[in-house]
């Protein structure tokens, strides 16, 4: 297949969540979330209960994909950072390790400068975490997919209601 399978384990998830929680505080942001480039939400932090994070994740990935397509046409590698300014809220988007996307939503209680600064730090941490995660995923000695064991019946049962 084109890319290695994306897998998230408890250990790395906790680390990623900690980075997000810290970033929220340090950047004085409203919401922080991490999406993989295919639009799957990986972690969320902050005041997101009222937000449709699934939709946001898919649109973020679409946005990054479109920008990446533009970069290619310009023979750029990628546009790693994006910033969208609204009337009340702003969105800062950062590609981490070519694989995942870090999104920070903030308002006038923070500033672009502060967010940029804190994102840089978080970016380094996340890079390390995702690298070790990738190594783990590619390590054949670590247990197989839980789906190796499922039966045709399990699959059929999903569709019986």
């Amino acid at each position: 297949m084109a890319d290695p399978q994306l897998v998230m384990y408890e250990e790395e998830f906790v680390q990623i969540q900690q980075v997000c929680d810290k970033l929220i505080r340090d950047a004085n942001a409203l919401v922080v979330f991490i999406v993989d480039k295919n639009g799957q939400l990986i972690a969320t932090s902050g005041d997101y209960e009222h937000l449709d994070t699934t939709s946001l994740a898919s649109l973020t990935a679409g946005n990054i994909a479109a920008t990446g397509g533009m970069a290619k046409l310009l023979k750029e590698n990628e546009f790693a950072t994006q910033f969208h300014e609204g009337e009340k809220q702003n969105i800062h988007i950062q590609i981490v390790g070519q694989r995942v996307i870090l999104v920070v939503i903030f308002d006038e209680r923070s500033s672009l400068g502060l967010v940029r600064l804190r994102v840089r730090k978080a970016n380094e941490h996340l890079n390390d975490i995702f690298e070790s995660l990738l190594r783990k995923v590619q390590d054949p000695s670590i247990g197989n997919s839980p789906f190796a064991e499922i039966t045709d019946e399990d699959i059929d049962n999903l569709f019986n209601d």
Partner: protein, 196 residues
């Protein structure tokens, strides 16, 4: 490519509806959206032109239930069928786990069906996928219209070896819509079971 999350005990898969312009891809998702209970679906997002042609993609998140303690979630996407949106189609195929090719059964759309199917095969290849090896089903849509080709004709054109599961459909009234979805979802899960 599917995403297994041991932390939240979820498995996420991506299914893409492909096919020529106006063949009924968006209509498939709309029908699924309308007939799915609110607890099993998220919001449907359509990035469309003012004339309701898909501009970038439609997106519909569905959750199907649990397998062995893992919530199974499917993200359904459609591509824009119009020929000149090819760059966008390529982007949406990234990370795909399963493909539905929606064919337009009307006789005058046969050329467009063939072109779109070739385009699908080519764009998948560019990403390192082989249409013959990934979970894939075909839907012959618009069966309710008078000017349609016979299923035999469609098969000989789009599914000549007859190894791809195929379904007749009429998306606005739902005929064949869930059969198609279930078939591709099953293939995706079966592929996961094999662990690729």
């Amino acid at each position: 490519m599917s995403f297994i999350n041991y932390s939240s005990r979820e498995i996420n898969c991506k299914i893409v509806y492909y096919g020529p312009g106006l063949c009924g891809k968006t209509t498939n998702l709309q029908y699924i959206y309308n007939r799915t209970s609110p607890t099993a679906k998220g919001k449907m997002i359509s990035l469309a032109t003012e004339t309701e042609r898909t501009l970038f993609f439609d997106f519909l998140p569905l959750s199907l239930g649990e397998i062995r303690g893992f919530k199974t979630r499917f993200h359904l996407y459609t591509v824009p069928g119009q020929v000149f949106y090819d760059a966008s189609r390529k982007l949406i195929l990234k990370g795909v786990d399963g493909v539905v090719f929606v064919a337009d059964s009307q006789i005058e759309r046969m050329e467009a069906n063939l072109e779109s199917l070739e385009n699908l095969r080519y764009n998948l290849q560019e990403q390192g996928y082989d249409l013959d090896k990934i979970p894939y089903v075909i839907q012959y849509n618009k069966r309710d219209l008078p000017n349609v080709a016979s299923v035999e004709e469609l098969k000989s054109l789009l599914n000549p070896s007859d190894v791809v599961p195929d379904f007749e459909a009429s998306a606005p009234n739902g005929m064949g819509v869930f059969d198609t979805l279930k078939a591709v979802a099953k293939l995706v899960l079966t592929e996961l079971k094999r662990g690729r």
